[in-house]
């Protein structure tokens, strides 16, 4: 099972920070967002927003990065610290 992480307001939309998703094959992040969008328009459009970055296993990647069932995919909205 791939682990999906939703930070900041994305976690509110997803109803939780973390969920899992079974991936029988590698999928591009864009495809995973489309799968989520098919079930949840609000969350899907938020994940596809231009200011959301993606990280796989702790490294920033582009939307065409291939995610496998063993990976951790994090959706990172605009940050704010301090």
């Amino acid at each position: 099972m791939a682990k999906l992480l939703f930070f900041g307001q994305l976690g509110d939309l997803a109803g939780g920070i973390e969920r899992t998703m079974a991936l029988s094959a590698a999928h591009a992040i864009g495809d995973i967002v489309a799968l989520i969008d098919a079930q949840d328009r609000l969350l899907g459009s938020a994940l596809a927003g231009p200011r959301v970055r993606y990280a796989v296993n702790g490294e920033i990647v582009a939307a065409d990065f291939q995610v496998t069932d063993a990976d951790e995919l994090a959706f990172l909205p605009p940050v704010s610290g301090g």
Binding site: Q9, D12, V79, G81
Partner: protein, 157 residues
């Protein structure tokens, strides 16, 4: 450069940390600190509480990388970053940055640089809960502008 990075889920005592930091110095005579604490009120009215999230592991690696960059730019003996996460009340310390150098300007600039990173680029997400509900905070335009100051700047020292 000696360094210490801590992401803490419990309240911390900035002055106790500054004291330990200062007493650990062997040569540096100039110590600059920045402490950020929860404000009693924000633009949206009275803040009743603040929540901070981070991405364990990745957040720390980002801070470690910015400390590498600070060490390259300025002659620092030591640097300290402590950042609170979880639920906080007004006046709770959120962040502490401390830098030490033989040179006053190096310590000032490095602390300023680290805070700009923590404010607008480090992987933290902050929400405020007030009478109007919960809102996720984004950096202000000036926070982004502050962080960009360092993009083309030559190293100080």
């Amino acid at each position: 450069m000696r360094r210490r990075v801590r992401i803490v889920a419990q309240a911390f005592d900035p002055e106790a940390e500054i004291s330990i930091f200062r007493r650990s110095l062997e040569a540096a005579g100039a110590i600059v600190t920045f402490t950020g604490q929860v404000r009693a009120s924000s633009a949206d009215g009275h803040v009743s509480s603040l929540h901070l999230q981070h991405y364990p592991g990745m957040t720390e690696r980002g801070i470690d990388a910015i400390l590498d960059e600070a060490a390259q730019r300025w002659p620092l003996e030591a640097a300290l970053v402590i950042h609170r996460v979880g639920d906080m009340d007004p006046f709770d310390p959120i962040v502490l940055v401390a830098t030490a150098s033989a040179h006053r300007r190096a310590a000032f600039e490095a602390a300023d640089f680290l805070m700009d990173y923590l404010k607008s680029r480090a992987l933290f997400w902050k929400s405020e809960t007030n009478a109007a509900g919960r809102i996720w905070v984004e950096p202000r335009a000036e926070d982004y502008a502050d962080a960009r100051r360092w993009d083309d700047a030559p190293g100080g020292g």
